[in-house]
C-alpha cells in the first residue's frame, strides 16, 4: 500500500442555524483554509471528492453547487458520495493508491437546519415495512438504547458520556454544546425518546469541514508531522433492525480489526456517536481501554454537522498528531440507523517511515 497522510484539516464552528450563509458560502473559507494549510497549490491537487446529502436541502443535485467552492475550472477530477465525508475520504485514499496523483481534497458539508433532520432520516429506512410507520432518528436510537440498558447498562453510564463530552467541548472553539453539568443534573431532566434524554442526543448543527490528503514524499515535504493513514476499513450490517444485535457493533469490530486498531497502543479516539449509548458500544467494539482519550473535542454530542461530523473525527485525530499531542489515534464514522454502517481509520505519526 502507498503511504497516504492527512496533511491539513479545517472546519467551520458548528452552529444550530446558520441563517445568512448558504452551503457554498459556508464551505468556501473552510476549503480555502484547508488548502492553504496543506502547502499544496489549489491547482496542483490531483483529486477532489465531497460528501453531502441532498435530502438536507430538499434539492436534487444540491451537492453540485458545493463545487463552486473549489474552483473547478479548468475541469478537475472530481467525485461525490451521498454519505458522510469520511466515506469521501475513503474514496480519495483508494484513488491515491493508483499512484498517478499525489494529493486529494476531501470536503463535507451539511445544513441540517433547513429541514426536520430526525424526520428526514426516516427516509433511509426500509421503504415498505419501516419508513411508513415514521419512526424518526430519535425513536430508532431510543430502541437501541433500550436494548442496551436491558443488556445490563445504566442511564447513569450514558449520562457520564454526556458530562465528559460537554466538559471536553469547553476547550473546543468549534463546539456547539458545552457545560459543567453533573450526572445527577442530567438524570433529573425529562426524556425526549425514552430512555434518551436531551443530553443523550447529539445537537442538530450546520457545519462544514475539509481535509487535504497527500501521499509519500509530498506529504513529508509539506507537513512536519503527517498523520499517516495506516489502516482504513468500512463495514455494513443488515438494513433491517430486527435482524441485528443492537447492543453491539459487529461492523465496527470487524472494521477496527481490519484497520489494525489493536496492533499498537492508541492515544486518542474520536468516535462519531450521535447518542451517548453508542459511544459505549463503539468503545467496546474497538477494544479501547481506559487509557485512551475518547472524544477530546467533545465529539458529535458537542457538534454534529450532519454529513461532515464523521470526516471531522478524522480531522480531529489528525490535527492532534500534527501538533504532537498524540502519536497514534483512531477515528470512526457512522451512517444509517443505530450504527448500521461504520468506518474506522487509524492515523499514526510513525506510519510513513
Amino acid at each position: 500500500m502507498r503511504d497516504v497522510a492527512v496533511v491539513s484539516f479545517a472546519q467551520m464552528p458548528s452552529v444550530r442555524h446558520e441563517e445568512s450563509r448558504n452551503e457554498v458560502e459556508m464551505l468556501m473559507p473552510v476549503v480555502a483554509e484547508a488548502i492553504e494549510r496543506s502547502g499544496i497549490g489549489r491547482k496542483e491537487i490531483g483529486f477532489t471528492v465531497s460528501g453531502s446529502c441532498d435530502y438536507l436541502a430538499g434539492v436534487p443535485f444540491a451537492f453540485v453547487a458545493g463545487l463552486d467552492s473549489v474552483g473547478a475550472w479548468p475541469p478537475i477530477q472530481e467525485s461525490h458520495v451521498e454519505m458522510d465525508g469520511a466515506w469521501a475520504l475513503y474514496e480519495a485514499w483508494v484513488r491515491l493508491q493508483y499512484g498517478d496523483i499525489d494529493s486529494a481534497l476531501v470536503y463535507a458539508f451539511g445544513k441540517a437546519s433547513m429541514g426536520d433532520l430526525p424526520k428526514v432520516l426516516t427516509l433511509q429506512l426500509d421503504p415498505y415495512y419501516v419508513a411508513p410507520l415514521w419512526p424518526d432518528a430519535l425513536s430508532m436510537a431510543g430502541l437501541q438504547a433500550r436494548a442496551f440498558l436491558d443488556a445490563g447498562h445504566t442511564e447513569a453510564e450514558m449520562a457520564e458520556v454526556a458530562v465528559r463530552s460537554r466538559r471536553s467541548a469547553k476547550d473546543n472553539p468549534n463546539a456547539q454544546v458545552r457545560g459543567d453539568e453533573t450526572v445527577d443534573d442530567l438524570l433529573g431532566r425529562p426524556y425526549v425518546a425514552a430512555p434518551l434524554r436531551a443530553h443523550d442526543c447529539a445537537p442538530i448543527s450546520d457545519g462544514a469541514c475539509a481535509i487535504v490528503l497527500a501521499a509519500g514524499n509530498v506529504a513529508r515535504d509539506v507537513c512536519d508531522r503527517p498523520a499517516w493513514i495506516t489502516g482504513i476499513d468500512h463495514r455494513i450490517e443488515a438494513h433491517g433492525l430486527g435482524v441485528r444485535d443492537l447492543t453491539t457493533s459487529a461492523s465496527t469490530r470487524t472494521a477496527g480489526e481490519r484497520a489494525g486498531v489493536g496492533s499498537k497502543p492508541i492515544d486518542v479516539a474520536e468516535l462519531y456517536a450521535p447518542f451517548t449509548h453508542q459511544e459505549l458500544i463503539l468503545r467496546d467494539a474497538l477494544g479501547l481501554g481506559d487509557g485512551v482519550s475518547v472524544n477530546p473535542s467533545g465529539g458529535a454530542l458537542a457538534a454534529n454537522p450532519f454529513m461532515a461530523a464523521g470526516l471531522a473525527r478524522i480531522g480531529e485525530v489528525a490535527q492532534r498528531i500534527h501538533r504532537g499531542d498524540a502519536s497514534r489515534g483512531v477515528a470512526h464514522a457512522t451512517s444509517g440507523p443505530a450504527l448500521q454502517q461504520n468506518l474506522v481509520c487509524v492515523l499514526d505519526a510513525e506510519g510513513g517511515k
Binding site: N22, G58, P127
Partner: protein
Amino acid sequence: MSDAAVEEGPVRSIRTPQHFVYQYSPGQATSRFLRGLEQGRILGQRCPQCGKVYTPPRGACASDGVPTTDEVELPGTGTVTTFCVVNVPFYGQKIEIPYVSATVLLDGADIGLFHLIQEVAADKVHMGMRVEPVWVEPADRTPSLESIKYFRPTGEPDAPFDSYKEHV
C-alpha cells in the same frame, strides 16, 4: 397463508405519502440580489481573480472558488442570446401562449439571466435582440425575479454576434 389471501393475488403497489417542509436559505449574495430587485435594482458580483460578473450572484466564482466580494449594479439592458417559443399549454401557466422565454445577457454581466420577452410578437424575437426590463410598480415589488414583469425590445440595432458568442 389463507386461501383468501392467495386469491387476492400479489400486492403490486403501496402508497406512503411524505411531506417535508424546508426553510430555503438563498445565502448572503443571493439575498442581496433579491433585496435589490425589491428596490428596482439588478445587482451582480465580480470575481476578484478573473473579473467575471455573476448575476444572480451566489457568493462564489465557480471557476476560481473564491468569494465574489465586489458588488456591481447593472443597468438592466441586455441582449437575447438564446430563446424558445412556448406553444404548449401546461397546468399553472399564467401567460397566454405563444410566449417567449429567453436567456438575456445583461450589459456588464458574464452570465445569462432567464426571463420572458414580451411587447413583441413571438416570431420576431431573435438572437442579438436588445432588450430592457419592465418592472412592476414599486409598491408591488418583492424580493423575487417576478419584480421584473418581463423584458421588451429597446429598438436598438442588434448586438453583434461576437459580443455574446461565448454565451450560446
